[in-house]
């Protein structure tokens, strides 16, 4: 059985390459066997792919599920009555969404991972939290979106919460000012999805000619730049502009997905996204799915030992990225660090998603 107590005894950014390789080989092999037994479509897929059973695998040999399969199949490894929450990915309208089934244990692991990762960046004291979103996102507590899950996940870091947008996604300038005045001079945390911060916070402030002065603010944002690259906003420009209207200097992007909630990849002050002990990443060449060298662009595959109620421990994403190095980021965090370049062209991954039908 997976020893989650052992995983959570470890600090998030302390394990070096050799040890992590050994641990991930063990953990992921065990999870592959576990899910093969309990999740019928996953077991069927592994059989079709002729993945050998009861054999130790290295991380890169662990079978990967194309992320799109979570949209087409109910991939769950627990009895229906122990499903505690069902999470959906945030697809645009008309698109199918992923459905991720969580039991209380898996939800607890995910929350613990997030707490340890966040704690490494801003400490264990809870902070006033300004959420750049509408409280309406949380309306249905049992069936929640990736957006809602992000807000709920981050709310554990909060001493008090203020929602910066009203139910119609308009900036609640008065409410924000009231909140900020109350905690003047204190460290405050600001959280939101990248495109929501840009479109509904930054743009609105610009339009109103308003700005804030939050030199002790820490802004954390995720969800990707895809919707912003359409407006040709780069990560660097995002940072610059946000600093301009808020005075915030500490801005952390993160990479994460509904299919592996909690074990997010946080951006350090050097602009690198970091894998922690709760996750790992490799990149693969689009033409033959061979593992890329560091510095080489490839399709991102993500791993997490926390996926216990569903077979999401090894997922091939639809994102492209470059692994920059391992254990030697100048910020001092151990583990791989990387950059995400954006979405791959849909056609490239087609051959991979089709594997299941075979």
């Amino acid at each position: 059985m997976m020893d989650y107590k052992d995983i959570f005894k470890r600090k998030p950014y302390f394990t070096e390459k050799a040890e992590k390789e050994t641990l991930y080989g063990e953990w992921l092999t065990e999870l592959t066997e576990y899910h093969r037994e309990r999740c019928t479509p996953y077991g069927k897929l592994l059989k079709n792919l002729k993945v050998p059973q009861y054999q130790h695998m290295r991380e890169e040999e662990i079978p990967m599920l194309p992320i799109g399969l979570f949209k087409d199949f109910d991939l769950v490894s627990i009895p229906e009555q122990t499903v505690f929450k069902t999470m959906t990915s945030s697809g645009t309208s008309g698109q199918k969404v992923s459905r991720i089934y969580l039991d209380t244990e898996t939800a607890d692991y995910q929350q613990r991972a997030l707490v340890a990762i966040g704690g490494d960046f801003w400490g264990d004291a809870r902070l006033p939290l300004l959420v750049i979103d509408s409280p309406r996102v949380l309306k249905d507590r049992n069936l929640f979106s990736a957006r809602g899950a992000g807000i709920l996940g981050f709310s554990i870091f909060s001493s008090r919460i203020c929602y910066g947008l009203d139910k119609d996604m308009n900036l609640d300038l008065e409410g924000i000012e009231l909140f900020l005045n109350r905690y003047q001079g204190e460290t405050i945390l600001i959280f939101g999805f990248t495109y929501i911060i840009w479109n509904y916070f930054y743009q609105a402030l610009k339009r109103l000619g308003q700005s804030f002065h939050l030199p002790k603010g820490i802004l954390v944002h995720g969800g990707g730049f895809k919707k912003l690259t359409d407006q040709s906003v780069s990560s660097e420009e995002f940072k610059e502009r946000i600093t301009e209207v808020t005075g915030i200097n500490r801005i952390h992007n993160y990479y994460g997905m509904a299919e592996q909630t909690g074990s997010i990849y946080m951006e350090c002050p050097f602009g690198h996204l970091h894998a922690s002990i709760y996750s790992d990443i490799i990149t693969r060449r689009a033409k033959d799915f061979k593992v890329c060298s560091y510095g080489e662009k490839g399709i991102i595959q993500v791993f997490s030992p926390l996926a216990f109620s569903y077979p999401g421990h090894s997922i091939l994403t639809e994102d492209e990225g470059v692994i920059l190095g391992e254990d030697d980021c100048p910020c001092g965090r151990k583990g791989k660090y990387f950059r995400v370049l954006g979405r791959i062209q849909q056609a490239e991954i087609r051959g991979c998603s089709d594997t299941y039908d075979g």
Binding site: F84, T104, G119, A125, R141, N142, L152, G153
Partner: protein, 78 residues
């Protein structure tokens, strides 16, 4: 009101449970004690006892009984 009475009252109000349901009650064990309910409960307890609980102790506050152990760390004896 004693510390125990305050403690129970906050559970009953924030998580909409009855007093007899409290022993053995676990975080995520009932619908209302999810992460939203949890943060409401923690914020109310902090206000009533005038303490600040750390993020990791919010995680450690995993049941009705565990919560008492956590609060003891902050000098609140129930």
């Amino acid at each position: 009101m004693t510390n125990l009475e305050i403690y129970n009252r906050m559970f009953i109000r924030d998580l909409r449970v009855k007093e007899e349901d409290l022993p053995g009650l676990k975080y995520r064990g009932i619908r209302t004690w999810d992460s939203l309910g949890h943060m409401d409960l923690i914020a109310d307890l902090e206000e009533k006892y005038d303490i600040h609980i750390s993020t990791s102790d919010v995680m450690n506050f995993s049941s009705y009984e565990k919560g008492m152990e956590v609060l003891a760390k902050y000098g609140v004896i129930i």
